[in-house]
């Protein structure tokens, strides 16, 4: 009897213990699964190393090239004019070396090599050109820039009356092999003869746009160099019927990124009937959606005046007209869920005294950089801040420094005189900036790039 009772008591005790065990275990696991515990992570040390740069080479424009001046050979590339160089003090002493075409006929570019000192005296120079010929007239600007291994030439015009020459200049001491990838209606392809263009050391090559992308309506060209970096640009001119409608030199745009900014696009008059303002977009790697917004330059305005949402197919460029813009200066901002490249096209009008210009997207700048404003047309510096916090930048032009406050998501403009201009974002701020040359019948854009030393910094990790 009592044995039975003890046994029953044992059984009950054991049952209770079992239930408690299960509850405790369940509670432990449940708590862990629901809360997950602390997230502990670590990052490898990243070392930012400055390569021992001793010299920097800048490729400067020398000759504006056009096609069709030779009646015997319409495809022959010839010279139409010479750029006027404006150098800052650091670049003035350097001796330019010629980078001629292989046949020696023309010298599209020169290279200046300067010793690297502190960032204050970074060498910079800019060339400007004005043509008033019957097949090419207008104003164009090209800065002296280091050669790159990858260059995006987004604004390639293949419409009727447009001619363009891609200039590849190799300032280095070894041969560069360049491949051109043309992004068109059927996606990226490398045209015959463009897979391995040999640019010998200290020389240039020029390729007619029509030869590689003549059948495309709105191509984008990626220039990739192996062996040695090259500088690639497009020199283009437009003729409407028999009327010259403008010239342009377009240099490298910002590499593919989720945000692209083209500050200081100037609309001089409302033009109907022709494409006056448009944005070309390309998502090179993946499908996505881009939003194009247009804001008035020099304001904190956040309401877009034109543009809209654009679906993008990987590798196929898309042109979006920007309609309804009244005369004024605008910043075009593209945001996308994939990396894109972009450039904006703008004309001043359709008469023989008018001009065209491509505004390539500009790269972000987070450290002081120096540029030179070229001669010929009054220039304006536009600084845009795409971040969510106010940015302060110090701008030094013609020896006078002033501090500009750029509102978050807005931009400021300031007139800059010929010669040195230095832009220094304060306190780690990141801005996008470009110099716009605009006068009646003249329009050109000069993007600002980060200083050479900043670009050269290498981050090394494990």
């Amino acid at each position: 009897m009592s044995g039975k009772r003890t046994r029953a008591a044992h059984a009950i005790a054991r049952g209770v213990a079992a239930v408690v065990t299960v509850l405790v275990g369940g509670a432990m696991v449940g708590a862990a699964v629901i809360s997950g515990g602390a997230v502990i992570t670590r990052t490898a040390p990243v070392l930012v190393a400055d390569p021992p740069l001793t010299a920097t080479s800048l490729v400067c424009p020398d000759t504006f090239l056009v096609l069709g001046r030779d009646v015997n050979d319409a495809q022959r590339i010839g010279a139409a004019g010479t750029f006027t160089e404006t150098s800052n003090a650091a670049a003035a002493g350097a001796d330019p070396l010629s980078l001629p075409l292989a046949d020696g006929s023309v010298q599209p570019s020169t290279v200046i090599t300067t010793q690297v000192g502190g960032s204050a005296d970074a060498a910079a120079a800019t060339g400007t050109v004005r043509l008033t010929d019957e097949d090419a007239s207008g104003f164009a600007v090209a800065a002296c820039r280091p050669a790159l291994t990858e260059t995006w030439l987004v604004g390639v015009d293949t419409s009727v009356g447009a001619t363009g020459v891609i200039v590849l200049s190799n300032p280095g001491e070894v041969t560069a092999t360049v491949s051109l990838t043309v992004y068109g209606a059927t996606g990226p392809q490398t045209p015959p003869g463009a897979a391995a263009i040999v640019v010998p050391a200290r020389s240039s090559a020029a390729i007619a746009v029509a030869a590689i992308a003549g059948t495309e309506s709105n191509p984008v060209v990626a220039v990739r160099a192996t062996g040695a970096p090259v500088q690639a640009s497009i020199q283009s001119s437009l003729v409407r019927g028999l009327t010259p409608a403008g010239i342009d030199v377009q240099q490298a745009g910002a590499t593919a990124a989720a945000t692209q900014v083209m500050p200081g696009v100037v609309v001089q008059q409302v033009v109907n009937g022709v494409k006056a303002s448009q944005v070309r977009l390309l998502a090179p790697e993946a499908d996505g959606t881009a939003t194009v917004a247009v804001y008035r330059s020099g304001s904190a305005q956040t309401e877009s005046l034109a543009g809209g949402q654009v679906p993008l197919t990987a590798g196929i460029p898309f042109d979006l007209p920007l309609d309804g813009l009244t005369p004024g200066s605008y910043d075009v901002v593209v945001t996308a869920d994939v990396d894109v490249v972009a450039a904006t096209w703008q004309i001043t009008g359709v008469s023989s005294s008018d001009d065209i210009a491509w505004f390539p997207a500009v790269p972000p700048i987070s450290a002081a950089t120096t540029a030179v404003v070229g001669d010929g047309v009054a220039a304006t510096l536009t600084v845009r801040n795409t971040s969510a916090v106010e940015a302060s930048v110090e701008v030094t032009s013609a020896g006078a420094a002033k501090t500009l406050t750029v509102p978050a998501g807005g931009s400021v403009q300031t007139a800059v005189g010929v010669g040195d201009v230095r832009l220094a974002p304060a306190g780690g701020a990141t801005v996008e900036a470009s110099i716009t040359y605009a006068a009646t019948g003249s329009l050109a854009s000069q993007p600002l790039w980060p200083g050479t030393a900043d670009v050269a910094q290498v981050s090394v990790t494990r």
Binding site: R14, A17, A18, T21, V22, V24, G25, G26, M28, V29, A31, A32, V33, I34, G36, G37, A38, V39, I40, T41, R42, T43, A44, P45, V46, L47, A49, D50, P51, P52, L53, T54, T56, S57, L148, T149, E150, G172, E173, V174, A176, A222, R224, A225, T226, G227, A228, P229, T255, A256, P284, E285, D339, A456, Q457, V458, S459, V460, T461, R462
Partner: protein, 949 residues
Amino acid sequence: MPASTVHAVLVARPDTRALGLTHFSETIRAIREQSMPVDALTIVLCGRDERFAEAANASGAEGIIQADGSTGFAEAIALASARVDPDSALWLLAQDTVPAPEALRQLAGMLEIGPSIAVVAPKLVRRDDQDVIASMGVSMTEGGAAIELAAGQFDQGQHDSTEDVLGADVRGMLLRAQRRADLLPDPALGGADEGLDIGVRARLGGARVAIAPLARVAVSADGVAGLPEPNTAADRRRISYVTRLAQLHRRLTYAPSAAVPLHLLSLLPIALWRAMASLLAKLPGQVLPEAAATLVAATRWGAIARSRHRLRGLRGNWSRVEPLRIGRAERQLLTTEDGPRGAVVSGELRFFSGGGAWLVLAMLVASIAAFPLLLGWPVLGGGAALPLRTTVAQLWTDTGFGLRGYGLTEIAPADPFAYIVALLGSLVPASPSSAMVALWVLALPLAALGGWFAATRITERPSLRIVAGIAWALAPSLMSALLHPRPAAVIAHLLLPWLFLMGSVAHRSWSAAGAASLLLAAVAACSPSLGAFGCCVVVIGAVFAFATGRLSAAARVVWLLVPTLVVFLPLLWRRLADGDPLALLADPGAPWQGGRTTDDLLGRLATLAGAPDGTAGGWTSFLDALGVPDATAVAPWTLLLIVPFVVLAVLAPASSRWRVGTALLLSAAGAGVAAVLVSRISVTVLDGAAIAIWPGALVSAVWLTVVLAAALTAETLPAPRMITATAMTVATLLLVVNAVPALTATARGADELQNGPRSTLPAYVAATLTDGAGGATLVLTVLADGSIAQRVVWGGSDTLGAQSTVLTSALEADPEDERIASVIATLVTPDADADPGLAELGIRFVLLEPVRQSTGVAAALRAQASSALTQRAGLAAVGETGKGALWQVEATPAARTTLDDNQLSTARWSWSAVAVVALIAVLLAVPTRASVRAARVRGRLIGLGRPKP
């Protein structure tokens, strides 16, 4: 009538046992009641005690000597003998020797009739059971060890005809008056073998030692004279110490003078040998006392000289001793025990008749069907799998403290996993990498074997063991680790059931403790997070054993931690010095993030269910291939297929073996919590991205405990066999269904296994560096954000054993990193014309890996770096290879730094410590006839309680 008088000396020691006083009084009474009374009695009291003194005073003794408590038996006799009449024979008695009334008459009579007899010893019987002989004659082996001739035998008069013996127990001995001056017990012996020593000296002196079979003395081992009963661990240590000390001292005493130095020299190797023998005999408690005895015996020069002095001139008479020594055959007869001391509980294993062998065979077939292509692969690749070093020597070099296979001059301890890799690779010396391929093919059968054996601790039913085998082989975590290759996790999974098999009975036997300790170290080496959990379980077990007073069980459990600690010690030291103990948890082997579950409730449940790789056990791709719409949403529900096992496991604490059930369930919960916690901890970094600890090994531990708990429930649930059998069948079938996507993954191409490559570096590099040319390869990987990840690889390939968590989890950059960063900055910048000094760093090749993007900062930087490297003087472009663009340094690379003396000695010490501990554990683990018998007495199952004696 005997002519000479007899003087008895009684030695008492008050501080021995509780019954000491009773024994003492009884002995005094027995002496008084002798049929032939003693002529005089001298009592020596070693230590002060009122009651003893009172009893001694009442005894009517002729003299009472009060001696110090530290006085030994031999010293006490020496003290007393000074006051004994030189013409009296000396009778040696202790407090616990009760002579029968006729004893002295018989002894004295023997002395009387044999003039050549110098010593007569009585028949010692056990006081508590007087039919059992406690001692009747002692001899020694060829090695000099004392050996009892009749101890423990029932007294049937079978030895009564024995007359001459070599020696006897010292208790109750009667020494002839004329000879006794030379024959007093030797104090240097420390309490053991005194009677044997007296006998040997007597025989060398030309006299005989006789046994008087009719003189009976009842003894109880109080430890006053002779050895104490081995009741406690301290007693056992004392016995080991004294026995060994006496044996060595006798050896040094009996040896001819010329042989003494040789004997001294031989002590150290013999001590080592005996230490190993003790370990093999599962008696690790003997090792230290014997070592101490060796040390003491070898350094007591004075005692040796005194003892030798007494035998001066007599050693030549060794032939008088020789005939009474024991030969090998007799010794075997005397020492072999008669048989098992308890009933054998465990029956046959029934591996073959119970279907275990068929299960393993079936899993082998399933494995070959699941991985048909693997059989032809020379090297396993993909995921965290890497080639192994190409030679056995290199494999073992990777295990040492010193220069790692990566970095420039960094000296760091190896990951313990390198030992596992080296062991595995050494199985196929000609092509170590193929051992990994073989492991993959054999993983399923080996897992089934392990699961089957682990279940033998839970159940004797063959069907349940087979279920456990299947469940372990088809464990979701194993499937994940096999298909998304993680060699360390696979090895940990295969070792885990064996760790359970041995660890669950480690408290019972040294053999199991030795094996389990090695397995725990191996599991910890493969998965430090699982090892840390295992160590926690062991510590809890040890505390439990200690708290319940089972000290020797606690000692065995504590030993489980020792090999793990020793193997991890260099790494532990380094981590503590770095102030980064958490990094000890870093997964060894190639750092690889791979697929992971989402960090939310469902993701964590999937992790616990054995699919930490985020593929829902392969169901997502499987259902997709079947054309099921919205497979991603449906697949997580398949995790429910393992629920029956969990339900059965939850019932385990209610079973009749509830202790095991509770322990298993709590372990499962603990491992589950640990798995969830570690899955959010990252301590290694690769290519700038943090890599979280892989929770798969801990999930395996959860699964093991769940499966075993389920088997326990099925075994013990008081429900009809029909119901449990049906439940287990359903659970197993659902598990097999659950494994279908995983087993068909290779056929569907849904796995990440790859054939090779033989080297992760270009073939040209592999060929040059494997041929023995010096130098390293600087591998540059341009990351998507435009930074460059670097690694310096020594040897012809990245290899599994060369990986070092010290390097992959370093928190801060050291000067070496800064140096290489500036070298890289110089290398990849076209206009930087400083000499980077690659050859001085020992670098022979520079490899620029391809980038995935065709455009963007990474592609641009790679192109820039490529052209910079091509333009650089001193570098010869080898060309683009499948693994990247390659340049060769034209200058001969400098030799790599070598270890300085300190580092060399650290390396030697750490390696020897591991070797010694491994040897100890192996010796403990190796089964001997005795250990197997002991294991069979306890049985295979756990949780049945201690067997009734």
